[in-house]
Symmetry: C2
Subunit: 405 residues, 2 copies
């Protein structure tokens, strides 16, 4: 996409001095238009009129049209399903506030520059190209706000973050099959200040914020006029939660300190510290031997492991349940996930943990044509299955069995 002709042009121009000062009649290209927008392509007028007369949204599909699969969410489960969907049989409409899938296990590596952000995000349009090309398939940057299972429709609202010139608007989508793949959201246990002052590690913009803050703190801590105490606070990276995310991120941070900070921020290298705070034990779902190993490795690489429960989060420090105050410059919160308010609001039977209850075919019982997959779903106790394995990996079987091919 580089403009080779313009690059050449610039090169040429250096070999010949500009003629402007000797040219009394400035050049006026004949292509300069006097009226604006005249070159806008005019879409078919009838189609345009039809578009305006319809209520906002996509109405029920009619005979002759492909059945419409509406997918809520663009995480592992939703994307796996869309990727496998046969778009010669179905139209697919994805509704999500995020236009890409995040390869979450590698997100921690992007915070310190090991990986580039682009490397861990895959556009939905590349996962399922039909959504950007087929006339009946779409990606809508929006949140689903309610589901009407009787009417077979969902109500949505656009996401217009940061566009102060544009108010969000609502629209309705009719579905033939509805796939709820809305994932989960970080748990804060109602602790005051977490949302305001801590950074989660679930989205690309979280990783960007962490990287930005880390580098800013490293630079500011080197500026004259800062006290040693404040320098230590700025460079204290606190990770709350010793699950895989917290452990991986702590490890990446300590690698960054050992390999990069000592080289690139040598003046302040003795002031930086990583602390991992966990209420119980780190990697609690893994076995003893592995926990021991992780503990040894983290400690060896300089990560301070602290057992404690966070009681309060202030702008520059956290308070633990033993009353001690821990100053921080960067606070990353990864204490597990739970259902989103939207999932909580759905009036359907839930599985343990508040997930959307599903039967062994991933169907939401008692309503027609509604399925739930991935982290937002769990097998109902009546199925006799363990709650958890309704994971993205199951989607392929699911597609094959439910969608009949």
């Amino acid at each position: 996409m580089t403009m080779a002709w313009f690059r050449n042009l610039k090169k040429l121009s250096l070999t010949k001095p500009p003629l402007r000062s000797t040219n009394p009649h400035p050049f006026l290209p004949s292509t300069f238009l006097l009226s604006h927008f005249s070159s806008h392509p005019i879409p078919d007028a009838a189609a345009e009129a039809a578009e305006l007369s319809r209520p906002p949204g996509l109405g029920p599909t009619v005979s002759g049209e492909k059945p419409r699969v509406v997918v809520l969410g663009s995480g592992w489960a939703g994307c796996r399903l869309m990727k496998g969907l046969d778009t010669s049989i179905y139209d697919v409409v994805c509704v999500s506030p995020r236009n890409h899938m995040v390869f979450t296990p590698l997100l921690a590596s992007t915070c310190v520059g090991t990986l580039e952000f682009r490397s861990v995000a895959e556009p939905i349009g590349r996962i399922q190209p039909s959504i950007s090309r087929e006339p009946g398939s779409y990606f809508f940057l929006a949140n689903c706000t309610s589901v009407n299972t009787d009417e077979h429709s969902v109500q949505c609202e656009t996401v217009t973050d940061g566009l102060n010139t544009l108010k969000p608007w609502r629209f309705k989508l009719s579905y033939d099959k509805l796939i709820i793949a809305l994932g989960s959201q970080p748990l804060t246990f109602g602790i005051h200040g977490v949302k305001e002052h801590a950074i989660f590690l679930r989205e690309v913009y979280h990783a960007q914020e962490i990287r930005r803050k880390l580098l800013l703190n490293l630079m500011l801590s080197d500026v004259p006029g800062i006290s040693v105490e404040e320098k230590r606070r700025l460079l204290h990276c606190v990770v709350v939660g010793g699950g895989p995310t917290g452990v991986e991120f702590s490890g990446e941070l300590s690698d960054f300190i050992i390999k990069d900070v000592t080289q690139r921020y040598a003046h302040v290298k003795d002031y930086i510290q990583v602390t991992l705070i966990e209420a119980n034990e780190i990697l609690s779902s893994f076995d003893d031997r592995l926990r021991h190993y992780a503990t040894k490795q983290l400690t060896k690489s300089g990560v301070q492991l602290v057992r404690g429960i966070v009681k309060d989060v202030k702008p520059q420090s956290i308070i633990l349940n033993d009353g001690s105050e821990v100053p921080y410059g960067l606070l990353v919160w990864s204490t597990g996930v739970g259902p989103s308010p939207f999932v909580n609001s759905l009036e359907v039977p839930k599985s343990p943990g508040g997930r959307i209850g599903i039967d062994e075919w991933l169907r939401v019982p008692a309503v027609e044509d509604v399925f739930a997959i991935g982290d937002c779903s769990g097998f109902l106790e009546s199925t006799g299955k363990q709650v958890l394995p309704a994971l993205a990996q199951r989607c392929q079987d699911f597609i094959a069995t439910i969608f009949g091919y």
Copy 2:
């Protein structure tokens, strides 16, 4: 920097089920600390006391220390100078609100994804590694607020954008040689609304903002419930200023539309339009033949060229001097550059255009040990030289002659 051991650990853990539920005594690693911060390295106490007793900043160098070169700015000129400086002879201290150099000619390509942002930004610490390692060399993330040439010192203030927990603070730097390399800033000609609603194209964050807005508009324009008129507005990309930046960016945009939008945003491809507005002629400092060529190429690739002067910038439209209103979804402003308020505030003789006046040795006359280089400087009329060629390229000669090697 990847944590191979942890990846292995995760793999291992899959081969063996977690033992947690069968283990009544949770594992408590002995390395969990009860007191916090005990593992903080304690810097030398005397050094610490000395640091606190000094007024914030770097005082005059004393006999036995290397002379200190303070460089204000981290653009082409400042970076070229720092790169060439012999740090075995001089200590170098760079003061800039930006910790990297931007390869500006390629910035337009990053707006549409042709290049990654990282590819056009080079950290100062990589350009001159001494600033992150040598005891007397530093990079300070700050702005210079005033120069005291009698005292041989500059007053600075830290940049703490986005760190709401930290107020900026001031510090003083003594210099042996001062290099002012502060560049220029975009001209808005006092037109109302430019700073609020238009995006410049000078920094990496500008390019990021342009890319973000472009993609957001593309996605929103495809959501049901939007009128055709609003769709056209959202997808109208207006570039004001037909210099090299505006022309290059318009070309990149049209390439993006031809190659990417038609594929990835096929539903809305007929509604997107690029308009380049210029008061006179595009590429006015280049010769006729090249202007003709550029005009032909831009027109061929669908860019609408409009001759006009912008009178007012509103949140969703601009008003031209003929009274016509041009709605836009993205507005990029590149109408040239001029001196910054700081350069204006300096009470030194100026060259035409408000640049810091310099003699043929790039010295600021009448004051000692102060030099100005790059876009912020211009030869004084008394030198008999053309104003302009005090460019970054001159730095090498400059270093060789002024700094005596």
